[in-house]
Each structure stands twice: as C-alpha cells, then as structure tokens.
C-alpha cells in the first residue's frame, strides 16, 4: 500500500487554510506539528464528558479520567517499546523531562568535582543548559562531542571523551537543525563499560521514526507531544524502572507522596513520584490519540514517506542557486529537516518573503546556537517535513526561494 498523503492531509483542519492569500505550505513541523481532527476530538470529548481530576477520587468522573490517563500512558509505553507503563513519566515538554533527569539523577549519582557529563555540539539548548546548570551546582565538568563538516557527530575523540570519570552522557537522537540521525550504539556501549548512564533527546526522532527503547541502548529518553501530532503542554520521560525507582523526586507536591507530616515526607513509587500536582490530563489523553493515529498509519510508512520527501527536497534545493545546505546532503542517516543558507540574504528576510507566499519555515538559531556557531552563521533557514508534507510543497518552497533572490538581488 502506498502512503496516501491526500487522505492524511484531509485529517488536518489547518492545512486547508490560506496564509497571505496563498494555500498554507507548513514546513515547520520540527518546531511544532499540526494536529489531526482525531486528536482534537478525543480531547474535546474528554473535556465535555469525562473531565475529573486523576488518582484522587472514587467518583465516576474521576475514575473515567484516571482510566483514560493511565490508558494513554500504556499506549505511549507501547509506542516506544517499553514493557512497563510505569516507566513513562508525563512532563509538560521534553525540556522538563531533561531537567528532571539532570536534577534527580544528578542527586542520585551525587555528582561532584572530577565527574564528567558529556553532551555534543549538536544539541538543542534544552539538552545543553540543564547540564551546564547541573555542572555549576555540583562542580562536575561538562564535555562535548564536536560536529563534522558534513554535520555528523564527530566520534574521533570518543576514547578521551568517555572515560572512567564520565557519569552521564546525553545526546540528541535526531538533530533539530542538521537533520542528522545519530547512531549512538558505539558511544552508549563505551559509556556503559564505564558505568555511565545514557540519555537520548528523542524530541525529533520519536515523532518521525520507529523508536524502540529495548534496542536503543539508552537509560532515559525524552520526547514531546506537540511535535508528534499531540497537543502542547505534554512531554514524556521514559526511564528504566530500576533507575527511576532509585531516583529522588524533583518537583514536589500533591500526588507524588506516600505520606506527609509537617516534619517528613515519603514518596510514591514511579511514575507518580515524578508527577507532582495535577498533570496535563487532557493533554496526555490527546497524546495517546496521536499515538493511535501514528500507529494506524505505521511508523515505518511515516518514515518512508518522509524519506521520499527528503530525497526530493535535497535534489530540488541543490538546484536553487546560492543555497548552501548544512548537514548531510543525502537521505541516509538523516530525517526530513533541512537547514540552509541563502547567499547574501539573512534568514529573517528569507522567512519573511516565504511567509508572504504562504510558505512557513523557521528562521533563526533554532535553539541550537552552538550548531550555528559551528558552521559560522548567526542563523539558518530551516524547512522541516512530516507525514502531511507533499512534493508540491517542496516545489512551492523552491519557487519562494527564487522570489527571495529577486527581492534581494
């Protein structure tokens, strides 16, 4: 069966709108994805019929809401291959998930001067700053992998970077700027041999490719609902249960306790321990519906469609004069996120002219300033694709870039 992109598009109400008098060409899914009718409907139905607080009530509404919330946890666990739903912690976004690990694991491992945390130059700010702050708090040292000229993780310094002082390695699974998909098997294996723990920032991979925590080699992964057809306000931390069970709480308050006295508190087991306060209930349920939607299409098919679009886009962009691509130039080991420079035109201006034509791309540093610095530019223009992207939209991008060059000739 071929992937029926027209049928997929019909599920996304926003795709039929116009922008500045042109049909919307949404090429900013790495920033946030659009949401199908099916997800919005499940959330609406929940809010209109079953809204109650979770884990706190014996009443019918509360029980219905709790069941739906926990069912979503189960769906999301299965989606990433986790055998135990209690390994899924709901957060508000990827960023919170990474901060949770930085704080809680940092305490659990009693990080101290001499210890090392390893990241890479390819990270999103959300996988840089929490570790910088952890190192500030504990005196540990932050180290990082570089990036090669063709936008791959530079593993040449692997042996010196990962050593007996390494406690935590946190890497992006797919880069949100370069599109690079990192095969971290060798790094993870070496980290493990020194007893270090491995976290993967899967914010860009889980939405776009089949990800299975059983074969990934990671101890923790983070991802975020709004990039995978789900609502804003919901993110996910997956962690190995034995680890989560040993880690101290991070955010504290209602629902994460076992018992509380004024003098002393004990904590519930995971995942409750890490879900303080009223969680994003409708949002978790919406994310469950998003996972249903993706499963119905099949993540293999989604990925194949994006590979096709990416191949096409790489070819088309190569033909636009003055366009310089950052990151891998062939579809192998990369996803559908293309960042580029238009010679002599600032990305802000590129984005503005494209927007006037209804073509929505992201411009700026993409929350990855070190990547921009690595390639010697203050900002980039980025087009990113998803299951609803068509080759026509790539053509519209190319036409838009011609227009950009005309305005700034």
């Amino acid at each position: 069966m071929t992937f029926d992109v027209a049928r997929v598009r019909a599920d996304f109400p926003i795709l039929s709108r116009e922008v500045n008098g042109h049909p919307l060409v949404y090429l900013d899914s790495a920033n946030t994805s659009q949401k199908p009718r099916q997800v919005l409907e499940v959330m609406r139905e929940h809010n209109e019929r079953h809204n109650g607080n979770v884990s706190r009530s014996v009443h019918t509404l509360g029980t219905e809401a709790t069941s739906a919330y926990e069912e979503a946890r189960g769906k999301i666990a299965a989606f990433v291959g986790a055998t135990n739903p209690d390994e899924i912690v709901f957060t508000k976004n990827s960023t919170e998930a990474i901060n949770l690990v930085a704080h809680s694991l940092g305490r659990h491992l009693s990080l101290k001067p001499g210890d090392e945390v390893v990241i890479s130059e390819m990270e999103h700010h959300s996988n840089i700053v929490p570790w910088q702050l952890l190192c500030e708090r504990t005196g540990a040292t932050l180290r990082w992998f570089g990036v090669t000229d063709d936008g791959r993780l530079d593993e040449s310094a692997l042996e010196s970077l990962i050593n007996e002082r390494t406690k935590i390695v946190s890497l992006v699974h797919m880069s949100n700027t370069l599109g690079t998909i990192n095969d971290v098997a060798a790094i993870a294996e070496r980290a493990r041999s020194f007893g270090a723990l491995v976290m993967l920032d899967c914010s860009q991979s889980v939405p776009h490719l089949p990800v299975d925590v059983r074969t990934l080699g990671a101890d923790f992964i983070a991802f975020t609902g709004h990039k995978m057809l789900g609502p804003t306000g919901i993110g996910v931390l997956w962690g190995r249960y034995e680890l989560l069970a040993e880690m101290p709480p991070f955010l504290a308050g209602g629902s994460m306790i076992e018992t509380v006295t004024m003098a002393r508190t004990t904590y519930a087991p995971p995942p409750a321990r890490f879900e303080a306060g009223t969680p994003p209930i409708a949002e978790a349920i919406g994310l469950g519906a998003a996972v249903d939607y993706l499963n119905a299409l099949g993540m293999d098919a989604v990925h194949r469609h994006e590979q096709d679009i990416t191949s096409y886009a790489l070819k088309v962009l190569a033909d636009v004069p003055g366009v310089r691509l950052f990151g891998p130039t062939t579809p192998e080991g990369r996803g559908g996120t293309l960042s580029f420079d238009v010679d002599g035109v600032h990305p802000h201006d590129v984005g503005q002219v494209l927007d006037a034509l209804g073509v929505e791309v992201r411009v700026g540093h993409h929350c990855a300033k070190p990547v921009c610095a690595r390639f010697g530019v203050p900002a980039m223009t980025r087009a990113s694709f998803y299951l609803y992207t068509t080759t026509d939209e790539i053509d519209a991008l190319a036409r838009g870039l011609d227009q950009v060059r005309k305005v700034f000739a």
């Binding site: 884990s55 706190r56 009530s57 014996v58 019918t60 509360g62 029980t63 709790t66 069941s67 926990e70 209690d86 306790i257 076992e258 018992t259 519930a268 087991p269 409750a272």
Partner: protein, 151 residues
C-alpha cells in the same frame, strides 16, 4: 458505577463485626502498609506457622472487611494452601469483574467479586493481603509472587 455487588451483606457484616481484629503477641513477622491515595493503613502480624494472624488498621469498609475475611480464611492453614488462596484472591481482584470466583477456595472472600469492577476500590481490598504477604515474608515464609499493584 452502581453499587450492585460492591456492598455485599457479607462485606458489611465483616466491616461492622470484624473477626480477629487487634494486634497480638507473639508474632514472627509484621508489616505496615499504606494506601497513599486514600490514607488507608493496616498493620498485619503473623506467626511463622500461621497459627495466628492479627491486624489493626484504619480504613473503609472494603479494606477492613477484607482484613477480617483474610483472618478467617488464612489463619491456621499451611503455607501452600495460603499461597493458593492468596493467588486466587489477587487474580479475582485484578480481573476487572471478568473472573469467576471459586467459593471452595475463597469462602467469604467471593463477596469481593463485585469490588473488582471498581478500579478505585481494588486497592482497598488488596491492602491487607499485600501487608499479609510482606509480614509472612518477614516471618520467613514466601506465599507467592508479588502482583503488580498500581499505587
């Protein structure tokens, strides 16, 4: 959820007239369990030969009646029998109302069949049984695998 099947006469009887309640000496193992969502608490004590099982706690009709039934059903049995009954009860509670209870094995505990349809109350019914299992373990007797009970 309608009340049909939840507040069986047997359950209310055990609740109002609990059997064997109160902590007694001597004992070989003790465990204190808490249900964090509702605050129910129970302490269970066992002797290694199960000649006595004593308990005390605070809680709803379901958890209190369940402790009383447990006392009646398990006291004086041997470890194998207890493991069988324990497993049958846990299976019943986790069956979402789909499991047909065996009265020969479960005695008065069959009255809890209806509880299995109330997810929020399953934990109440299981609380004494989990505490009992821990207490037995501390007395050196294993009465079967721990089920996955969600807090």
């Amino acid at each position: 959820m309608m009340l049909d099947g939840l507040y069986q006469e047997i359950i209310l009887d055990h609740y109002k007239h609990p059997h064997g309640r109160g902590l007694r000496d001597p004992f070989d193992g003790e465990a204190h369990h808490v249900n964090p969502t509702c605050g129910d608490e129970i302490t269970v004590r066992v002797s290694a030969d199960f000649s006595d099982i004593s308990y005390d706690g605070l809680g709803c009709s379901i958890s209190q009646a369940s402790a009383s039934v447990l006392h009646e059903l398990l006291r004086g049995r041997d470890a194998d029998e207890i493991a069988g009954i324990h497993e049958a009860f846990v299976t019943l509670m986790q069956g979402r109302g789909q499991v047909e209870p065996d009265e020969d094995v479960l005695g008065d505990a069959v009255a809890f069949a209806g509880v299995a349809k109330f997810p929020a109350r399953v934990k109440c019914a299981l609380l004494p049984w989990m505490a009992f299992k821990d207490a037995a373990a501390r007395a050196g007797v294993d009465v079967g695998a721990a089920p996955e009970v969600k807090a």
